[in-house]
């Protein structure tokens, strides 16, 4: 039985997103005999080594053949199993987009797709291993729940929650090893319900995935300069918590979105789609990857190059406020 103790939470953070994925897999195996783990030659990388030893007959390694893995996952799901299929985020979304579209989206087969190293976590390997378009791909497909956990604890909670629904689900794992801790103790996680991390009055940062911890830091920097901030963890991109977004627009002078993803088709797009329908809404400043491939390099280098740091968010927002335009 998993325990959300401070010690465990620190341990999961050290292990990083893949390690947390492995911890959740072990818990799921105990909870539900129908849960299976599928991978495409990333057993070790996805943190499933212990799972492999403990449940060898519940792990399927399909080799470097992602399309086949998704098809086989569909077959297993059809026969009543709950397959969690993992590989690099770009390979399990854009590479297999048609398999995902037909099996998960159209046929609604409850595959749980795990996108490892979404964003820049594997960016040092080059553009092929970055994944900054996966939300856009997946969001365009009907019937798929998209979850983007804020830290390792939330990865575990998201996987446990996903196993309890019949919905096809995509969980994108962002952030480096030694993942910043957003939740240092247990909390209530519900798919589709944004979590208010802190409440302020002037600005609301709607963040997802790795950017939640950056948003919390940015809020602190802004508070030092007299700007009061709300931070909203939008861990579920679809179905989107529209109420939370509308409320944020009503209560604040400015909205900010923050995501380790392209500004096209991701959280910013989703938030804008909600607000554009309203007669009046507050402006939204997007923090995400502009429409380019960033040069490969370390995680922190790429985040900095893309303007995805707390300092950059705080500076830009304060400048905006000072211009008096808001």
């Amino acid at each position: 039985m998993i325990e959300y103790t401070k010690r465990n939470i620190r341990k999961w953070s050290l292990l990083g997103p893949s390690g947390a994925h492995g911890i959740a897999a072990l818990e799921l195996a105990e909870r539900n005999p129908n849960v299976l783990m599928l991978t495409a030659d990333l057993c070790f990388f996805s943190g499933l080594e212990r799972f492999k030893v403990a449940y060898p007959d519940r792990l399927y390694n399909f080799g470097i053949a992602e399309q086949n893995m998704i098809g086989a996952a569909a077959g297993l799901a059809k026969e009543g199993f709950i397959p969690f299929a993992n590989t690099y985020a770009s390979f399990c979304t854009s590479r297999c987009a048609d398999q995902v579209r037909v099996n998960m989206s159209y046929m609604k087969l409850p595959i749980k797709l795990i996108g490892l190293t979404a964003g820049y976590a594997a960016g040092i390997l080059g553009a092929t291993h970055m994944s900054v378009e996966d939300i856009a791909f997946m969001r365009a497909l009907p019937n798929i729940t998209i979850i983007s956990p804020a830290d390792c604890t939330e990865i575990i909670k998201a996987m446990l929650a996903a196993s309890e629904t019949d919905e096809p689900t995509y969980i994108r794992l962002t952030g480096p090893q030694n993942t910043p801790i957003v939740y240092s103790e247990d909390y209530d996680f519900q798919i589709g319900k944004a979590v208010t991390i802190q409440e302020g009055e002037d600005v609301c940062i709607i963040a997802t995935g790795s950017m939640v911890s950056h948003a919390i830091q940015a809020a602190k920097l802004m508070e030092n300069k007299g700007v009061s901030c709300t931070v909203l963890n939008m861990h579920t991109i679809k179905p989107l918590d529209m109420q939370a977004i509308m409320k944020a627009s009503e209560k604040h002078r400015l909205l900010v979105t923050a995501e380790e993803h392209s500004v096209i088709g991701g959280l910013y797009g989703a938030v804008a789609e909600v607000l554009c329908k309203e007669r009046q809404h507050k402006p939204v400043i997007p923090f995400g990857i502009s429409d380019v491939f960033v040069h490969s390099g370390s995680y922190s280098y790429q985040m900095k190059e893309s303007g995805l740091t707390a300092e950059r968010i705080a500076d830009k927002v304060i400048k905006h406020m000072n211009k008096g335009e808001i």
Binding site: G63, I70, A74, G75, K78, F81, V102
Partner: protein, 276 residues
């Protein structure tokens, strides 16, 4: 040797299925339909449903049923007409094929039609579905059910077919049967000219499959091939004639997907009558 009664029933059903395919195609008007690759696999489907599989049309979700996956989903007409033969759907429904709001879409879709395990149409995906289904059956301890996947030879251009083929052998799925409708023609022409996969049988064998090459219109050979059970996944390479049964369609790539004028429809029907 297959028993005579089964051979007779499959032969008679095949003739009726062919007529229904012609009728469905004609009824689509100018839209046309994938007639060539439907006519080529008539006997393969008829023999499977009438002479081989565990299938109860009244109970399409029966756990011990055999699973059938039409990976070459464009041959949907042949499947629908076969399902009508076994009573899963009414024959009268067949003329709704491709009509607005019909259950009988241009490719099989999951809209309540009994006997359709998966939607198909995007080629190269069905064998993977079969692999996953076999793994699932094994996990459930279901050693009775087999999984039959129909592929086109043109479809085998798709790399994902070979990913699935490799994994089927890797996981020792001896309850998986791939039936390849080797009619030799794809949308743009001869398969050997578009993308030559020869030696085709060797490929399957080298991927770890037991292979059987048969005349895909010979009822006895088909029934015999279906009865084979071994240690490895089974690939039945059924050599067929695209557009089989209608002289002007046979081996004519233009009838991969085509419409029929009244005159051609009547001529085709007459040819089928004469053949009886």
């Amino acid at each position: 040797m297959a028993n005579e009664d089964t051979v007779r029933r499959c032969t008679e059903a095949s003739a009726r299925i062919r007529r229904e395919i012609l009728k469905m195609t004609y009824e689509t008007g100018n839209a046309g339909a994938h007639i060539g690759g439907s006519l080529s696999m008539v006997e393969l489907l008829a023999c499977l449903y009438l002479g081989c599989i565990r299938y109860d049309p009244q109970n399409p979700c029966w756990e011990s049923r055999d699973r059938v996956i039409l990976s070459k989903g464009h041959a949907a007409m042949a499947l629908y007409a076969t399902l009508a033969e076994v009573g899963a759907i009414e024959t009268e429904e067949l003329i709704t094929f491709k009509k607005d709001s019909s259950r009988l879409g241009g490719h099989p879709s999951l809209n309540g039609l009994p006997g359709i395990e998966f939607a198909s149409g995007s080629l190269g995906q069905g064998l993977s579905l079969g692999v996953g289904t076999c793994l699932g059956l094994r996990r459930k301890g279901n050693a009775e059910s087999r999984v039959y996947v129909f592929l086109g030879d043109g479809e085998c251009d798709e790399g994902s077919v070979w990913e699935a083929a490799a994994s089927a052998a890797h996981f020792h799925l001896n309850n998986l049967v791939a039936i390849v409708d080797v009619n030799g023609i794809q949308y743009d022409g001869d398969t050997n000219e578009i993308l030559n996969l020869n030696p085709f049988e060797n490929k399957w064998r080298d991927f770890g499959w037991k292979t059987v090459s048969i005349d895909g219109h010979d009822i006895g050979s088909i029934l015999e091939a279906y009865n084979y059970v071994g240690e490895r996944p089974l690939a039945i390479l059924a050599h067929t004639i695209k557009g089989r049964g209608v002289s002007f369609m046979e081996n004519n790539w233009k009838y991969h997907n085509a419409s029929l004028t009244k005159k051609l429809y009547e001529q085709a029907l007459e040819e089928l009558e004469v053949a009886k």
